[in-house]
Subunit: 336 residues, 2 copies
Amino acid sequence: MTSIDDVAASLGVSTATVSRALRGLPGVAEETRARVTATANKLGYVPSSSASGLASGRTMAMGVLVPVIDRWYFSAVLEGVDRQLRAAGYDLIVFSLGGDGVNRDRVFHRSILRKRIDALLVMCMHLTEEERTAVQELEYPNIVIGGAVEGVRHVGIDDARAARDAVEYLIGLGHTQIAHMRGGGSFDIDFEVPRLREQAFRQTMADHGLPVREDWSAFGDFRFSTSRSSALKLLADPLHRPTAVFCSSDEMAFGVLKAAAELGIAVPGQLSVIGIDDHEFAEPMGLTTIRQDPADQGAFAADLLLGELLRHEPSEYPPSRPHLLVERQSTGPVGA
Amino acid sequence: MTSIDDVAASLGVSTATVSRALRGLPGVAEETRARVTATANKLGYVPSSSASGLASGRTMAMGVLVPVIDRWYFSAVLEGVDRQLRAAGYDLIVFSLGGDGVNRDRVFHRSILRKRIDALLVMCMHLTEEERTAVQELEYPNIVIGGAVEGVRHVGIDDARAARDAVEYLIGLGHTQIAHMRGGGSFDIDFEVPRLREQAFRQTMADHGLPVREDWSAFGDFRFSTSRSSALKLLADPLHRPTAVFCSSDEMAFGVLKAAAELGIAVPGQLSVIGIDDHEFAEPMGLTTIRQDPADQGAFAADLLLGELLRHEPSEYPPSRPHLLVERQSTGPVGA
DNA sequence: GTGAAAGCGCTAACAT
DNA sequence: ATGTTAGCGCTTTCAC
């Protein structure tokens, strides 16, 4: 591995000059800079991140803490985060808890603190008191993406408002018999989001003087298969069936659509279904939904931290990211 | 940030002892080790990865190069890789090309070489001649996951065999009018996989004396929505319609199923559909498919590199990972 | 505009 | 079993 000394020696200049030249610092003659850049390229020199990290205190890497990687929302956020980091020349380190309880401790008390990253993004998930404290005590910039975590800055959509918009859309279509397919529960993803959406559902129904039937609160676990099973039961009785289902996520909405198809229930004729997310499959499935853009949220959060790293002063508290109702073919007037 | 000197000073021992004790090296009295561990915890000491990386030459991090993060296969592989890395105390650094051409160069010639990682996993994707060379010249262990890349070691399923198994399953059910929904094309994912699967489809058909109709080779781009659109055309004419569709991925199979539903074509009565992957949605969708396990592939590859890092000698060339036909409700005898 | 030199916080030989 | 010491490859004052 060729080092900065090789470049310096090969040019007969000092390592300081090479360092300055390559990092675009002022106080280097343009001609010198050009020569340095040229030989660096020729020799295939790339600075060691360990060495420059140690010397400068900046690692040029950002960490993202996720409960799991391979779920729609999380991987989409990662994509957005990565986009901004790439543009800024930062590397992306992913700390995944992987549903593993044993691992959590190591992640919180070793990995994250190892001086390997300059800033940390925490994906919405349930944190213990102690973990929250650990995050808050981090000496570098950090932020939560998605659901709110008490005492930590966060960026995301206004979940309550998004859920309300969905439910009021159904109500506006004349629906009064509305069921809720709820998420939450499994592994570490039992953050605020499912709670906020459920609460907003109940509140909105109440605000419109509509009853909430407890047996129409189905558990879908934010998953297609769980939701399908639940919906199969929810929709089984043709005589006592909701005319609409508000789903706390698109994946669960797909489960409801599948169940309806299996039961021969026409959508939207006999049943309206609305989701939240605007998942990649929502458009081809014709699913009406509340669009959110996880990649945008990730990018926004990453930019915010990048800015703080640059300016050495905290940004303003971030506003909610937008959401948008997208009307498709899975919803229609009641009894149409 | 408390350093190793703080711990050493606080105990009146040398930094070397602290280092040895904490890393579990031999030659430390158990009593000393206990005291060191205790004060390290008390002081909240965590070794700086930059410093230990610089001193030891090991970064305790592994890199994964992906074309994009947020697609089923890639995020599932990442999950598997991460599982093993976590267990081994390694951190995961994700280098994503993000479909961005400009970025590729930086990734290949800076990030990857920055002495930030001890080994590299490359996800199957199209690499230019020069990029392949760059990977091959890497001085640390590396391997490709998924499709083969010439001259680089790789781990994955036997794609040709998987496709053949799928097609022969359809043929075994009596189908002769078989269409192919193919992938490939978009962004950097135009690797070997789509080509291998298509070729195997053609070869298998030929081996059984069956014709391949060019207008039944539909392009699904490995995506639900593209596949649905293509299938809508493919299946439009009730008189000249395949009785079965072999899909190079499950997501495309979902698109075919959706198109069939929209066209009122009964599955499997009038149309059999088979995929490859066993995507999370395949079971609830009742999709017959060839199961592969990307997380297993990622874990396998990570383990292999981890082993080489430990033993300092190359592993045997890895065998193909297994695939498995999973029969569900989307396939049936022809004309049933 | 450039160079010399002192670290950054560890690890690894080499001593003891 | 433990301590001493010389780096690892940079960045960053401080000189010139």
